[in-house]
């Protein structure tokens, strides 16, 4: 799973030569195989490394504050979202929905590495949502739709259909 994600990320970043990866441990943590020194371990670490390789430091944030925010959401992806329980999913969606209320992307007004990574991590959850739930988490859905249509992001994942008009207006009785 994480490996396909990394290869999609490479394409998104415009890296020509694909890297070799393996996994370690029960949780199948990705490891970047490299000729020099020990391999890098962990999705966030590798993704950050790839962004630097691709000369896209902007994706990691333009200043210290932004970099911290991006790192925070990258960590959120691997530490909170991955392997969460069903109950957690509801809380995560609710929190993200509130957070994204006044934002286009996770770090504000432009895309960062956190967007594709959280998108990859949320995909299997959003796919399962009923239309009604998608409307309940309207801001998440909007952001999600935005990211999946961002050039080069989607790759290995099927598109999720998002309706732009509200269907369940009756939800406000």
């Amino acid at each position: 799973m994480a490996l396909r994600e990394l290869s999609s990320l490479e394409k998104f970043l415009g890296l020509k030569k694909p890297n070799k990866y393996s996994t370690q441990g029960d949780r199948k943590v990705p490891v970047l195989q490299s000729n020099s020194a020990a391999g890098l371990v962990g999705l966030v670490t590798i993704a950050t490394h790839l962004a630097q390789e691709a000369k896209r430091p902007d994706l990691l944030g333009k200043n210290a504050e932004e970099r911290a925010v991006v790192q925070q959401w990258l960590e959120y992806r691997v530490a909170r979202l991955d392997g969460c329980t069903k109950e957690d999913i509801k809380i995560i969606l609710k929190d993200l929905n509130t957070y994204l209320e006044d934002k286009v992307y996770l770090a504000g007004n432009h895309i960062s590495l956190a967007d594709p990574l959280l998108y990859y991590g949320l995909h299997h959850i959003i796919v399962e949502l009923a239309v009604q739930e998608k409307e309940k988490y309207l801001n998440v859905t909007r952001w999600f739709d935005h990211v999946q249509h961002y050039p080069g992001v989607r790759h290995h994942l099927p598109p999720v259909v998002v309706l732009r008009n509200r269907v369940y207006t009756s939800g406000h009785h």
């Binding site: 799973m1 994480a2 029960d26 949780r27 199948k28 943590v29 890098l40 371990v41 962990g42 999705l43 966030v44 670490t45 950050t48 490394h49 210290a64 504050e65 970099r67 911290a68 925010v69 790192q71 925070q72 960590e75 959120y76 691997v78 530490a79 991955d82 392997g83 329980t85 069903k86 109950e87 809380i91 609710k94 929190d95 509130t98 957070y99 209320e101 299997h124 399962e128 009923a130 239309v131 009604q132 259909v161 309706l163 269907v167 369940y168 009756s170 939800g171 009785h173």
Partner: protein, 928 residues
């Protein structure tokens, strides 16, 4: 910039130590653990750094990195990697261990830490530098040191065994910044400092728990990995094992003997579901809203051994029936007879197990309604008033609201009804209609005064409130029922008219009001009493017995005020010791796909059509109950129904029960094998027992949908249990393995029996089929639902089961697609203009352009525009072709939907351009 921390919070040590190390200037504020600092997080999370930009950092590691960076230090790749490892591997294990040690007082709590600690030790022993990464302290050193600090405090964690880690830990800890911050958080004390904080955190599951990737190999439904494994205590496990071994003497469920009457010393429960109005065929929303929900609860109550009576019937009086009779050329009585039979057969097909299903047009109804009326009158709760009403001189009668049509005074819609405008939705007083017309003869009615009787609700308000307060606190009222009732009271009660100038109703016995009948809302709820009276002469034992009887009313939310305010006022005013509602269970609305059910447009599934779909009644029941609109509106969706059938019923529930039975048949010649319980089995028994207890607690509170989930959870546990133990492999192994296969099979098949008992209220036929296949003694299912629930071994070793066969069929997507089309209503037809014109000519129901053109069209008075119409006709044809093409190519649903929407919009414009009314015309030929 401001840093928020709380006392005794292990995560705060990191950020405080980094703050000390870097010397960054920042306010530090101490707050409570529960303080919500970050506005978008629903759980209180600390520490938090409020950045100058207004953003919040709520991840301790991100805060540390930020502080390091603003102090001008670089963060190396290795540091990043260690921080990620700390957050994903070390923290979950650490929190789990700390929780076990401080909150639960477990001694073997360090187990979870073994793997991450040995990984750390390995790396520590290989390093050649003074610190983890370099000769100087990096952010990773401080973060890891702070994370491990509490672990080193706890002696039982044996941290001393990690030699290299310990020496690194000591050198980081000797830094002045670390010493100072450790002192400020722990104050020289031990782990107990953290207890208050840890207690408030949700119990963390171990580091290995529930990781998605590690589960993807197992089979079963996609939800399988979502079963949250509750940690069972030793006590719960022991109780479960005792129950399992319980020997019960087979007292079977008492037979139902009619008439059922309240009995001293028993729990006497009277259940009603809102009386369906006779002139409509009920749709799925009506069915889940009242009769089906009440049926589940009644079946459950009977299983629990309550002395219970479930009453319902058709509500038959009123204007709508008169209208319908006129339409179909029958008398009102004939209409009632016809539709009463339709209702009866629909509910029979849905297996609604009423004790009695009656009707309101009976002599008993007249008798009881008139009695209540006289008692209200004698006690001064009725008052007279005159009302202005429309009267048709030609038809010689006052016109009920629905018998008048005219122009809406608010939006000028030409076909507004006397009570409401379909266009703008506003309520209308019939006399305010412009250009009113009698619906029957099209004559203009005149305004006349008519004398009517009013129920004096303001006079009854005090006793109503007193009673409500008590019923609210003692009984189960759904939140919407409470809210609707409160809002009615808050707005203040007004006198309500209880008489009407109609023929088809219960006659008002007062000589001054001869020729009038009772208004349906006064009359209909009295139907509960009269229907019971038609069931037994001793009906008063139920209805005038509040001491012994608990009354449950089931309904959709639109009916709440009549059951919680108006009807109780009638009964309170009559002062005859009536049984008043103790528990009021109201559902929200069920929509159909993305629209409303509509008989006239042919949209949605109606009760009489459900059986034509070929989908079994039990599956319909399951799906409707699965999406029962509790708390918020729900939507019926064909695709979702297929999904739930295939994933929950077929792959989860059916799969488990079938596998359990098949193992007995195939591996043990149809005889249940011996059980020798191991730790894992005992834990499973406890888990199942816990779900059963939940199920009972939910259903006692009429949380029907939640209880259904417990059933599905049990079979999920069962599937996992079988999957892990692989009896099909073990059966081929040695003696120990064969014995293990036997235990797993026997436990599983007994779980199937429990499931059949729990399924009875939801899917009675499936429940009976399981029992029959397993030859399970019926008495047990009754026993299993007593008290807090008893998961007993009901099929002992040596029990012979019957023939096992699959319980559910897959719903294929082609079948579902065809059903969706069939019940989609006119929209589908409208895509093909040809077909539409055919239906229009056949039914001749659409307004003729010439006739309608004269009347102004609601939104904007548009006159016909032939040129525009011509262009639009071409556009409609073109768009129609496009839609057909897309459908032919099986394009994505959303794409088709969007194109269909465009088509409909074009058609609307076309209709306007032609000067027609764009609203879909009712199609009379499509009633059934």
């Amino acid at each position: 910039m401001k840093l928020y921390v709380s006392e005794g919070n292990p995560h705060c040590l990191k950020v405080l130590a980094v703050l000390e190390t870097t010397g960054v200037k920042c306010d530090v504020q101490h707050v409570n653990h529960e303080e919500k600092v970050v506005p978008f997080l629903s759980r209180a999370t600390l520490p938090v750094l409020h950045l100058p930009s207004g953003q919040f950092l709520f991840s301790p590691n991100a805060i540390c990195q930020y502080l390091f960076e603003v102090s001008g230090k670089q963060i190396s790749k290795q540091s990043h990697q260690w921080l990620e490892w700390e957050a994903t591997e070390l923290q979950p294990a650490l929190m789990h261990a700390l929780h076990l040690a401080t909150v639960q007082g477990k001694t073997d709590s360090a187990k979870a830490l073994v793997a991450p600690l040995s990984y750390l030790e390995q790396n520590m022993s290989k390093k050649t530098t003074a610190f983890l990464i370099a000769e100087t302290v990096e952010v990773a050193d401080i973060v890891l040191w702070a994370a491990l600090y509490p672990a080193f405090l706890e002696r039982s964690f044996n941290m001393g065994e990690q030699k290299s880690t310990q020496s690194w830990f000591e050198s980081v800890g000797s830094l002045p910044a670390c010493q100072a911050s450790a002192q400020s958080v722990f104050k020289g004390k031990g782990l107990e400092v953290l207890k208050a904080y840890l207690q408030k955190q949700p119990a963390p599951h171990g580091p290995q728990a529930q990781h998605r990737d590690s589960h993807s190999g197992s089979t079963g439904s996609p939800q399988e990995s979502e079963v949250s494994d509750r940690v069972m205590t030793e006590e719960e496990i022991e109780t479960a094992e005792q129950k399992w071994n319980q020997k019960i003497d087979c007292q079977s469920k008492p037979e139902r003997k009619h008439p059922i009457l309240p009995e001293q010393g028993k729990r006497n429960v009277l259940i009603t579901s809102a009386l369906p109005y006779v002139n409509n065929v009920p749709h799925l929303g009506n069915i889940i809203g009242c009769v089906l929900s009440a049926d589940v609860f009644a079946r459950y109550g009977r299983q629990r051994g309550w002395n219970l009576l479930y009453i319902c019937g058709t509500d038959e009086y009123g204007t709508a029936t008169e209208n319908k009779a006129r339409e179909e050329g029958l008398t009102p009585q004939q209409i009632c007879d016809k539709y009463h039979a339709i209702h009866t057969s629909i509910y029979k097909w849905f297996q609604i197990d009423f004790d009695f299903f009656g009707r309101t047009t009976t002599p008993r109804q007249t008798e009881i309604a008139q009695d209540i009326f006289w008692r209200l009158n004698e006690r001064g709760f009725l008052q007279e008033d005159t009302v202005e009403q429309l009267r048709c001189e030609k038809c010689q009668r006052f016109l009920a609201d629905r018998f008048v049509e005219g122009v809406c005074p608010f939006c000028n819609y030409p076909e507004a009804r006397g009570d409401q405008c379909d266009k703008c939705g506003k309520l209308i007083n019939a006399v305010e209609l412009k250009e009113p017309q009698c619906k029957v003869c099209k004559q203009t009615p005149v305004i006349r005064c008519s004398k009517h009787l009013f129920l004096d609700l303001p006079k009854l308000e005090t006793s109503l409130e007193k009673w409500l307060e008590q019923s609210f606190s003692a009984g189960d009222w759904t939140t919407n029922a409470r809210n609707i009732t409160r809002s009615w009271l808050r707005d203040g009660l007004k006198p309500r008219c209880i008489t009407r100038d109609l023929l088809w109703g219960t006659p008002v016995p007062h000589p001054d009001f001869a020729g009038k009948v009772f208004y349906v809302w006064f009359d209909a709820p009295i139907g509960y009493l009269s229907i019971t009276a038609n069931y037994t002469d001793q009906w008063e034992k139920w209805w005038k017995n509040p001491e012994q009887v608990e009354l449950y009313n089931f309904m959709a939310k639109d009916n709440v005020p009549f059951h919680s305010v108006v009807f109780p006022c009638s009964l309170l005013g009559a002062q005859d010791n009536y049984t008043l509602v103790n528990n009021l269970i109201a559902t929200e609305y069920l929509n159909y796909e993305d629209t409303k059910f509509s008989k006239s447009r042919g949209v949605g599934v109606f009760g009489d059509m459900a059986k034509d779909t070929g989908i079994p009644s039990d599956v319909w029941r399951f799906y409707l109950l699965y999406l029962r609109p509790e708390g918020q509106d729900a939507a019926f969706s064909w695709a979702d129904m297929a999904l739930k059938n295939n994933s929950e019923l077929l792959n989860n529930l059916g799969n488990f029960i079938n596998r359990a039975g098949m193992f007995v048949s195939k591996f043990f010649e149809g005889m249940v094998p011996q059980v020798s319980l191991q730790e894992e089995d005992r834990r499973l028994l406890a888990q199942v027992g816990w779900e059963l207890k939940q199920y009972i607690q939910f259903l006692d509170k009429v949380r029907i949908r939640d209880a259904l989930k417990c059933i599905l959870n049990i079979s999920r546990h069962g599937n996992q249990y079988i999957q892990v133990n692989e009896p099909w492999k073990k059966i081929k192994g040695g003696d120990t393995d064969r014995q293990r296969a036997g235990t797993v099979t026997a436990v599983s098949v007994n779980m199937a029996v429990l499931l059949s008992a729990m399924l009875e209220p939801y899917m009675p036929t499936v429940s009976e089929t399981i029992r029959a296949q397993l030859q399970a003694p019926p008495a047990y299912s009754h026993h299993m639902l007593q008290g807090e629930g008893n998961f007993v071994c009901s099929l002992p070793a040596g029990h012979r089961i019957g023939t096992v066969s699959p319980l559910f069929q897959k719903l294929e997507s082609e079948h579902i697609e065809s059903l969706k089309k069939r019940f989609g209503g006119q929209q589908d037809e409208e895509e093909t203009p040809k077909k539409q014109s055919q239906t229009t000519t056949q039914n001749d129901a659409a307004p003729k352009p010439s006739a309608a053109a004269a009347a102004p069209v609601p939104q904007a008075p548009v006159t016909a525009d032939p040129e525009l119409a011509r262009q639009l006709t071409a556009a409609v044809a073109e768009q129609g072709d496009k839609v057909r093409e897309l459908k032919g190519q099986k394009a994505e649903k959303a794409v088709i939907t969007a194109e269909v929407a465009k088509l409909l919009e074009l058609k609307k414009q076309l209709a306007l351009a032609e000067g027609k009314n764009p609203e879909p015309a009712p199609q009379k030929g499509k009633k059934k």
